[in-house]
């Protein structure tokens, strides 16, 4: 999870912070005093409650706390966020992004290393504000509801954790400066671990923000399919193919949707087109073949139309 290279350095970030002249503090962020080594549950409860999820740290403990590690893993924090129907969006490793999330009203959950690289002391906290006059960040941290940390100190502790931070997004919210690949990747994870109607809202927002993006539209079509809205799925795939005719994956999915609506000859034609444009031998090709087999089998079933 931690990589060796880090973007930027403390001095660069401090100079970026100079440009932040307005004080911000998300005072409504709830505070859950940390119990022993359970900063993970406390911090996660805070950011989830801000988005309207009523969950307490003691409930979250069963989803993220590992007794023998005396703490919570980053990946499980993200997974738990998804399980409460919120999309965890990991921030770019820079202080400008962190501040812009605060400006958008979203407190940021950060990992800090309060020790050193060879004797790390891992800790989660929630950044709720920045005070330019004092050059301090405001954190909910441990048993401190309003911990004011010097910006340079905070940034160093955050740097030692590779600037790891995330926010919990309500499905349908896209951060202003969001990176499209990162957002769609977070959404794919949300979808694969049990997304539903919320997935639709999230993809719809992505399509609005990035109308030219093929993946966002594919995701939307798939999301409609997942809740059984086959006609809408078909419409999205068809529209996508108008600008990207040789997209094997979209053709595959369109074929599937056509087959399920009974349009078998259309489905077969479409899947064959998919096969003709896919790279033979690629994993995609193999998946398309499986779809084709299933469509053929279905078309030989008694209820063929």
């Amino acid at each position: 999870m931690l990589t060796t290279g880090c973007a930027g350095n403390v001095r660069v970030m401090m100079s970026e912070l100079e440009q932040q002249t307005k004080s911000i503090e998300l005072v409504d962020t709830p505070f859950y005093p940390q119990i022993t080594d359970q900063c993970g549950p406390s911090a996660l409860a805070a950011i989830l409650n801000v988005t309207g999820v009523n969950v307490t740290p003691s409930v979250l403990k069963s989803s993220i706390y590992i007794p023998d590690r005396q703490g919570s893993l980053q990946l499980e924090m993200l997974a738990a966020t998804r399980s409460y129907q919120r999309i965890p969006y990991t921030l770019d490793p820079d202080v400008k992004t962190l501040v812009s999330e605060l400006q958008a009203g979203r407190p940021v959950l950060v990992l800090q290393n309060l020790g050193s690289s060879f004797a790390p002391v891992w800790h989660y906290a929630v950044v709720v504000g920045y005070l330019p006059d004092e050059k301090r960040f405001v954190l909910r941290s441990g048993d401190q509801e309003r911990l004011r940390v010097k910006a340079s100190t905070f940034i160093r502790s955050w740097r030692r954790a590779d600037y790891w931070a995330f926010v919990a997004l309500k499905p349908g919210t896209v951060p202003d400066n969001a990176d499209v690949a990162k957002y769609l990747s977070a959404l794919a994870a949300f979808e694969s671990t049990g997304g539903n109607a919320n997935t639709i809202a999230a993809y719809e927002a992505a399509v609005v923000k990035w109308p030219e993006n093929t993946l966002a539209q594919l995701g939307l079509g798939n999301a409609y399919y997942a809740v059984g809205q086959l006609e809408r799925a078909q419409a999205v795939y068809t529209s996508l193919l108008r600008t990207d005719q040789h997209n094997a994956i979209v053709l595959n999915n369109l074929a599937q949707v056509l087959a399920e609506q009974g349009a078998h000859s259309n489905a077969v034609q479409t899947i064959d087109t998919a096969l003709s444009v896919a790279d033979i031998g690629s994993p995609t090709y193999r998946l398309i073949l499986q779809t084709r087999e299933e469509i053929s089998m279905q078309s030989h079933a008694p209820q063929e139309r």
Partner: protein, 128 residues
């Protein structure tokens, strides 16, 4: 069955497109015949499914060995994506586990930290 297949296709598709688009791979090497591809198809899908299941089981066991209640361990691995499971499978013992609040640091660790603070290596105590 269709739903599961297409769901898998969709998720794999998004992941594949994410990883292959920037790389602009060109075809190279021997062409795999269609027959072979058909034979491979089932095996690849099976291997993927097996890897998924193995990773899931492996991480679940590891969590239980680390003291996680078995009733929770299963739900927790179900909430993870395949990629996340694979990361955990390989690195579970080494990944940061955020937890120690500053008030909890005692003994040797505290002594080490005090020394490091004095040498201005860390900011543990000067955080405030």
């Amino acid at each position: 069955m269709f739903t599961e297949r297409v769901r898998r296709i969709c998720v794999v598709a998004v992941t594949l497109l994410m990883t292959t688009l920037p790389m602009m791979q060109t075809a190279s090497g021997a062409i795999i015949s269609t027959e072979t591809a058909i034979e491979l198809a089932d095996r690849v899908a099976q291997v993927e499914r097996i890897n998924d299941v193995l990773a899931r089981d492996s991480v679940q066991q590891a969590l239980e060995q680390l003291g996680v209640d078995p009733a929770n361990a299963m739900a927790r691995v179900d909430a993870l994506t395949v990629a996340e499971l694979q990361t955990l499978e390989q690195h579970l013992q080494n990944l940061p586990a955020g937890g120690v609040g500053f008030v909890e640091v005692v003994g040797i660790v505290a002594i080490v930290l005090i020394v490091l603070e004095l040498l201005h290596v860390t900011n543990f105590f000067s955080e405030f």
